[in-house]
């Protein structure tokens, strides 16, 4: 999934040049080749940042920060790792730094909800599982509420959840990326789910929803 750009060829068009060639060009002084690399990976990195932050502006800033760091550290890039994986690691670290810099907001969870958020909570609580699948589409409230719930977690808990569930990374890969032991990743994943359940229970508790009866 990560190395798509490295080998992809479009029929009838010029073959797509591998990322590694572009990296070599940038290293040789052709900095314009970096624009091609950035345009290939920008959307995926932006989407990764969106797993952590709601507002579009910080997401854009962090994406830019990732590419700046990548450009600055291109000399340390080793070709045995696909460029996509390398820049993803940078993005993960940039997001982790930002998560740690920001304050957790567990207290906001039990604060008031906007009308749309209450509707979404009602739907999550009462709709059938089939109805629920796809029901979040075009509902900004579903997205913001999910972010509020995740904002209440500790940065490391959130990081593990996102990498495990969204990026579908294995325990070893997460451990290598974050520089943790595998045991720590497992413990954090377990505690993250526990904390998530507890926070969701707090959030829904006052409403006596049946999820956490």
């Amino acid at each position: 999934m990560l190395g798509v750009a490295s080998t992809a060829r479009v029929e009838g068009a010029e073959p797509v040049r591998p990322d590694e060639d572009l990296v070599a060009e940038v290293r040789a002084g052709e900095t314009a080749a970096f624009a091609e690399l950035a345009s290939r990976h920008r959307r995926r990195i932006e989407h990764l940042c969106r797993r952590f932050f709601t507002d579009p502006e910080p997401v854009r800033d962090l994406t830019q920060e990732c590419f700046l760091r990548a450009f600055a550290g291109l000399s340390s890039y080793r070709a045995e790792m696909p460029f996509a994986a390398w820049i993803r690691t940078i993005a993960i670290n940039v997001c982790y730094d930002e998560l740690r810099r920001r304050r957790r907001k567990p207290e906001e969870l039990v604060a008031d909800f906007a009308g749309g958020e209450t509707e979404w909570l009602e739907l999550v609580n009462h709709a059938s599982p089939e109805e629920l699948a796809g029901a979040a589409e075009e509902r900004r409230e579903a997205y913001t509420l999910a972010h509020r719930l995740l904002d209440s977690l500790r940065p490391e808990d959130r990081m593990v959840l996102v990498l495990k569930d969204s990026e579908e990374m294995g325990v070893r890969a997460i451990a290598e990326t974050l520089g943790w032991s595998e045991a720590k990743v497992k413990i954090r994943a377990f505690r993250a789910r526990q904390a998530l359940r507890k926070q969701a229970s707090r959030m829904m508790g006052a409403r006596r929803f049946r999820i956490f009866k």
Partner: protein
């Protein structure tokens, strides 16, 4: 389908990527198993961020932007209320300011003797202040 298999399929079920027979089987399992049903509903709370495809996230963000205003805490007043309240306060402040200006323009405070002397007022005016029209001796004299 057991609980482990069911939970493994949550993301695909959420994205509606499951083949109909498996989706039906999973739905059947969720109907019978209360714990998995609860787990699925908890999953649905975070799935918009953790399990949605980029296009779905863009639909959530873009689709809603045009129709709905951004989230606002219930404690904060709505847009119209802010406008109305602002207008009332502006009108009130203007009224107070106008009253203060009118008061000082029309009714000047009485001058003391010292003020009158320091302003080089005519002696008649000073004497008017200095010498009252009648003193208490006049009462005895009368």
């Amino acid at each position: 389908m057991n609980c482990f298999q069911a939970r493994k399929e949550f993301p695909n079920f959420w994205r509606e990527h499951l083949a109909p027979p498996i989706a039906d089987e999973l739905a059947g399992h969720l109907e019978c198993c209360g714990l998995c049903e609860q787990a699925y509903r908890l999953f649905a709370l975070t799935a918009p961020v953790l399990h949605s495809a980029p296009e779905a996230v863009e639909a959530m963000l873009g689709g809603a932007d045009a129709e709905r205003p951004a989230r606002r805490p219930r404690s904060a007043p709505a847009g119209d209320a802010v406008g109305q309240r602002g207008m009332v306060w502006t009108a009130l402040s203007m009224l107070v300011a106008a009253s203060v200006i009118a008061y000082f323009a029309v009714a000047s405070p009485g001058e003391s003797l010292t003020d009158a002397l320091s302003n080089n007022r005519p002696s008649s005016a000073i004497s008017a202040v200095q010498e009252p029209a009648s003193s208490f001796l006049d009462d005895f004299a009368g």
